[in-house]
């Protein structure tokens, strides 16, 4: 009886998009990890076989989420958050180091990355906090608490150190903005990023002169609206000192590999066999796909294993090589449809909790999607984040599935709540 209720109320469009993406993702992992020129046997010990197992395990997880009482997620959000933080702290004791980052638990042959799940926990607690009618993000006190909820895991994850994952949490600022955070936070962030990049490309002194001229013009035109010139002066000083500090930071603070990533992004003189190798090979694989691609299982770059980590963070290069621009367009359209659908559903929610949570899910997924693809085609520094539903790995597949299906469950319950 209950089953029927659920199947009537859940959003099948989202589930369909999810299923298509997961299956397409698995096909791509298969193409990357099937050994070339061998007799065909389905091998569960290889990555495509393991991913198949991960996918099968998601089915009970999905059912568990759909049949549990949806109030659990709201009520126990603090508990989930607490467990998440505990897991992150536990990494300092029990964690396994992988590529210089201590962000894994290892149980026999089974690995587990807690930060993937912490994302959902943070989203839940944030939603819970904002669902309180008294909370008004226009006020400082509430802002601080919201920032603290985000900030604690960010600090812990930065200590692993895993800057990529930490950055994903920062994207929640869009959610806060939606819920009333003043716009100048976003502007400050946008200006800071722009200044950062420009300061690396052109000399700070030119950048600052340029900004100064711009601000003077801006002030002259807006004088009648009674702006305080002191504010202008302060903003200018802030930007100028930031621009100089970027140069300084770049030289003194950044690790060599971080510098390399930025240099690669900016197309500065880099060695294509060393620090530029990943990006170069990734662009070759994607670019050689052309309009229609080389055909499924026919990618020469994929078969040759030229792109590193091609089954995880670089999975999209295989789509580009074997399916071409048309394949990329299709996959990206599916993702964008999913994001828009989630946002649409979120806005439809009756409770603030569900709405904020839906927003969090969409923001997380989109940030992963954008950062992952943009780094492959030199629009973003190389940061190791997985492509949701596509990249190989149990933790990430389960984490994203749980994250998404909690929202589907919340959405399904919207009618009979309260």
């Amino acid at each position: 009886m209950k089953n029927q209720d659920i199947s009537n109320s859940i959003d099948w469009i989202t589930i369909l998009l999810y299923i298509i993406l997961v299956i397409f993702g698995w096909m791509t992992i298969y193409s990357v990890t099937v050994p070339p020129d061998q007799e065909y046997t389905f091998d569960f010990s290889l990555n495509y076989g393991r991913q198949m197992i991960f996918m099968i395990i998601t089915i009970p997880i999905i059912f568990a989420i759909l049949f549990v009482d949806s109030k659990i997620f709201e009520r126990f959000s603090f508990v989930f958050y607490g467990i998440g933080i505990a897991l992150l702290l536990g990494l300092f004791v029990f964690g396994v180091e992988k590529k210089g980052q201590t962000n894994w638990y290892q149980f026999g042959g089974f690995g587990f990355q807690p930060s993937e799940f912490v994302k959902t926990a943070v989203a839940l607690l944030l939603s819970k906090y904002l669902s309180d009618a008294q909370v008004n993000l226009a006020k400082r006190n509430f802002q601080y608490i919201a920032f603290a909820i985000m900030g604690l895991p960010i600090v812990l994850i930065l200590m692993q150190p895993d800057a990529g994952s930490a950055m994903i949490f920062l994207s929640l600022i869009f959610v806060l903005y939606r819920e009333g955070l003043p716009g100048w936070y976003l502007w400050t962030g946008a200006i800071a990023i722009a200044t950062f990049l420009l300061a690396l490309i052109i000399k700070p002194i030119f950048l600052i002169s340029f900004i100064g001229v711009f601000m003077v013009i801006h002030y002259i035109f807006n004088r009648l609206i009674s702006r305080n010139p002191i504010v202008y002066g302060l903003i200018f000083i802030a930007i100028a000192s930031f621009a100089f500090s970027v140069s300084y930071m770049y030289d003194k603070v950044l690790e060599p590999h971080q510098k390399d990533r930025i240099n690669v992004l900016l197309g500065k003189d880099v060695n294509m066999k060393k620090e530029g190798y990943n990006l170069n090979q990734s662009m070759i694989a994607i670019g050689s796909g052309g309009l229609l691609g080389k055909g499924y299982l026919e990618g020469t770059q994929t078969k040759g294993g030229f792109v590193p980590e091609q089954h995880t963070d670089y999975i999209f290069t295989t789509v580009g090589e074997e399916w071409g621009f048309v394949g990329n367009l299709l996959v990206m359209s599916l993702f964008v449809c999913l994001f828009i659908r989630i946002l649409y559903l979120a806005e439809r929610q009756k409770t603030r909790f569900s709405r904020v949570y839906g927003y969090c899910v969409a923001t997380y997924l989109f940030t992963h999607f954008f950062v992952n693809i943009a780094m492959l085609i030199r629009l973003f520094p190389t940061i190791g984040v997985p492509l949701p539903f596509f990249s190989y790995g149990g933790s990430s597949l389960w984490a994203f599935t749980i994250m998404l299906f909690i929202f589907i469950k919340l959405d399904a319950n919207k009618v009979n709540e309260w």
Partner: protein, 655 residues
């Protein structure tokens, strides 16, 4: 605003990503090329070059395995360098240098370490190869010559250069190609077609399978074997006879136009241009500008044909009807043909008829015949043209169209030539009378002379000379089986052939005859000149001989030129006769003559061409010479004194 910000960002950034992808995947082509370089390796399968046989099926040119040692620098570990170097006879610095060079190319890919080891060198290395990690053997085929003769016929194999690659895209850097001789002429038949395999490789350059299941791969096609018209024994014998002489021999089978022997002297052992020593030896041969061993005198040497040309003068005279068998001219001996102009004649003199004129090689007879031929026409212009047209029907004055890659036209002057030479006119038959006896403006190559004799042997037709007899798997060019008929009627040949027969019976080659063989021949002694230290000097005459045999149903026509060999019957005649006897009887009866020819040495004549000034061939100084150079001659001492005196004067003036 707050609701729409995130969807807007999602759409805008996705469009930016797609635009970037569109640029990379559709507009920018460089990534596709990089991808091919990355992942696809082209492997060539070189087929074995075709073998070359002589007309009797004797193998002349085969292939031998040769072994290249390849090295993968990354795999070279813990080897006994000293022992390794000793086996391969290289020094340790050489070893390190080669490894370093290979590393620069690629530490993971095999690159050439040492090229073209022969069987012996390879055997020593093979025993120990398992001890040398990172070294591999790659087998290649090199030419193996079963004979020491015929280098000019075969040509040689060399690596393609950039110019060839630019012109013929079939060849890639490092490929081999035939140069000169049949290796060049029949390159496409001999080489076959190399197979191409597209192989997928991974990031470590390991092969991981074929590209697209071998859809674009092609299978190598074996090179075809060639059978040449050359008679291996005759070729060898010809080269032996020409040792220490310069010149050429061309022998043709008249009934087919097949070249039986093509000898140039001096020549070289074809094995010199194979293997590790190839480029060193080639440079040496190439730089020998005196003996020119790479220059095929049988095809490229343009000589004044001399007396053999009288045959053609006679034939043209008969055809034009200005003489017949009974026409006689009086010889003084000699021939006055103008104010004080006189042509000497070696014949006994008297009233000379055609037959006698040929076998005694009477200049007067043929000068008169030529004069009459030209003067038959009102204008000398028409006469010369009529004469030239007859000669051109013998294939003279032009490339013959044979299947070897080098050649010269020779020269048969037409009226145009003389009009340019004498722009104001005033030239007539006597001006150009030297042509009648094969001097003057006519010149021919030995192969043209041989073909002329083949034409006469056939009594009026010839086949384009060719060196190919058959190619496995395809027919030879039909132009070699097409008959070329001359403008001289068949009936005019008989008196001439009789005259040539009598050359051996009681003519200029009287002493050379072979018992039981009816040989028709003609001696020739061609005057020639050279510039030595800027002066035009007349050198010793070229010794020439043309012949065919037997008289009825001839089997061989031959032309022999021995440079600066004096009379036709001193060198060229005996050599031609021996060649004919060798070919027809397979054995030589006149051992003394043979011995004289084999041992004959004309190098003293050739030295005249390059007196001491020539830096390449400086004569060795004797002790007396060097002493003389140290002691100044009286004159020199006087000159020096004078110079000093004038120098002092100048100095004083300055002061």
């Amino acid at each position: 605003m707050r609701k729409t910000l995130l969807p807007t960002i999602i759409i805008i950034t996705s469009v930016i990503l797609l635009a970037r992808l569109f640029y990379l995947q559709i507009i920018d082509d460089t990534l596709k090329i990089k991808s091919e370089n990355n992942a696809i390796k082209i492997k060539y399968d070189f087929p074995e070059r075709g073998y070359i046989y002589d007309r009797n099926g004797k193998l002349l040119v085969a292939n031998q395995p040769s072994y290249d040692i390849m090295v993968v620098p990354n795999e070279v570990k813990e080897i006994d360098t000293l022992e390794f170097c000793r086996i391969l006879q290289i020094t340790k610095p050489e070893f390190l240098e080669k490894i370093e060079k290979a590393k620069v190319y690629s530490p993971r890919l095999p690159s050439l370490f040492l090229a073209q080891l022969n069987k012996m060198e390879f055997a020593g290395f093979q025993e120990k190869i398992r001890k040398y990690n990172g070294f591999y053997i790659q087998k290649r085929a090199l030419r193996e010559y079963q004979t020491k003769s015929g280098a000019n016929v075969f040509g040689f194999i060399t690596q393609v250069n950039d110019a060839i690659i630019a012109k013929q895209p079939y060849y890639k850097s490092g490929d081999l190609i035939g140069q000169q001789g049949v290796e060049q002429a029949y390159e496409e038949d001999l080489r076959g077609v190399k197979g191409v395999k597209y192989i997928l490789k991974d990031k470590h350059n390991r092969e991981i399978g074929s590209y697209k299941e071998g859809k674009f791969d092609t299978i190598a096609k074996q090179g075809s074997d060639l059978t040449l018209s050359i008679d291996g024994d005759l070729q060898k014998y010809g080269e032996e006879l020409m040792v220490n002489k310069r010149g050429g021999i061309v022998a043709i089978e008249p009934s087919t136009g097949e070249i039986l022997a093509l000898v140039t002297a001096p020549s070289y052992d074809p094995a010199l241009l194979v293997g590790r020593q190839r480029s060193k030896n080639y440079t040496k041969l190439y730089n020998d500008s005196i003996a020119k061993p790479l220059y095929d005198r049988g095809l490229l040497g343009e000589f004044p044909p001399g007396s053999p040309f009288k045959i053609l003068t006679g034939l043209v005279g008969l055809q034009e009807g200005v003489i017949d068998e009974e026409t006689s001219f009086s010889c003084g001996p000699g021939f006055y043909y103008g104010r004080g102009a006189f042509m000497k004649c070696h014949c006994p003199g008297g009233h000379i008829k055609l037959n006698f004129g040929i076998y005694k090689s009477c200049n007067t007879y043929f000068a008169n015949t030529y004069k009459r031929t030209i003067e038959k026409y009102k204008k000398p212009k028409d006469g010369v043209n009529a004469w030239a047209n007859h000669l051109k029907s013998f294939g003279l004055g032009n490339f013959m169209g044979y299947d070897l890659p080098t050649g010269r036209k020779g020269h048969i002057p037409t009226s145009k030539f003389y009009e340019r030479f004498y722009p104001n006119g005033g030239w007539r038959s006597t001006t150009i009378i030297s042509n009648s006896i094969g001097q003057g403006e006519v010149s021919m190559t030995p192969i043209q002379l041989a073909n002329m004799m083949a034409t006469i042997a056939n009594r009026g037709y010839y086949y384009t000379p060719h060196i190919i007899k058959s190619i496995k798997g395809r027919k030879i060019d039909p132009k070699y089986t097409t008959k070329h008929v001359t403008t001289i009627e068949r009936r005019h040949f008989d008196p001439i052939v009789n005259g040539l027969f009598d050359v051996y019976n009681h003519g200029t080659a009287y002493s050379l005859g072979v018992v039981g063989l009816e040989i028709c021949g003609k001696t020739g002694t061609a005057e020639n000149f050279a510039k030595i230290n800027g002066k035009r000097v007349q050198l010793e005459d070229h010794s020439e001989f043309v012949a065919f045999a037997p008289r009825i149903q001839p089997k061989i026509a031959i032309a022999v030129i021995v440079e600066n060999g004096h009379y036709g019957n001193t060198w060229a005649g005996p050599i031609a006769t021996l060649m004919i006897e060798k070919y027809l009887n397979k054995k030589i009866t006149r051992k003394d003559l043979e011995k004289r020819m084999l041992e004959g040495n004309l190098n003293y004549q050739y030295r005249k061409l390059y007196p001491s000034k020539d830096s390449i061939n400086k004569p060795k100084l004797t002790k007396v010479d060097s002493l003389r150079m140290k002691l100044k001659s009286k004159k020199e001492i006087e000159d020096e004194k004078k110079n000093k005196a004038t120098g002092k004067k100048k100095d004083s003036v300055k002061k």
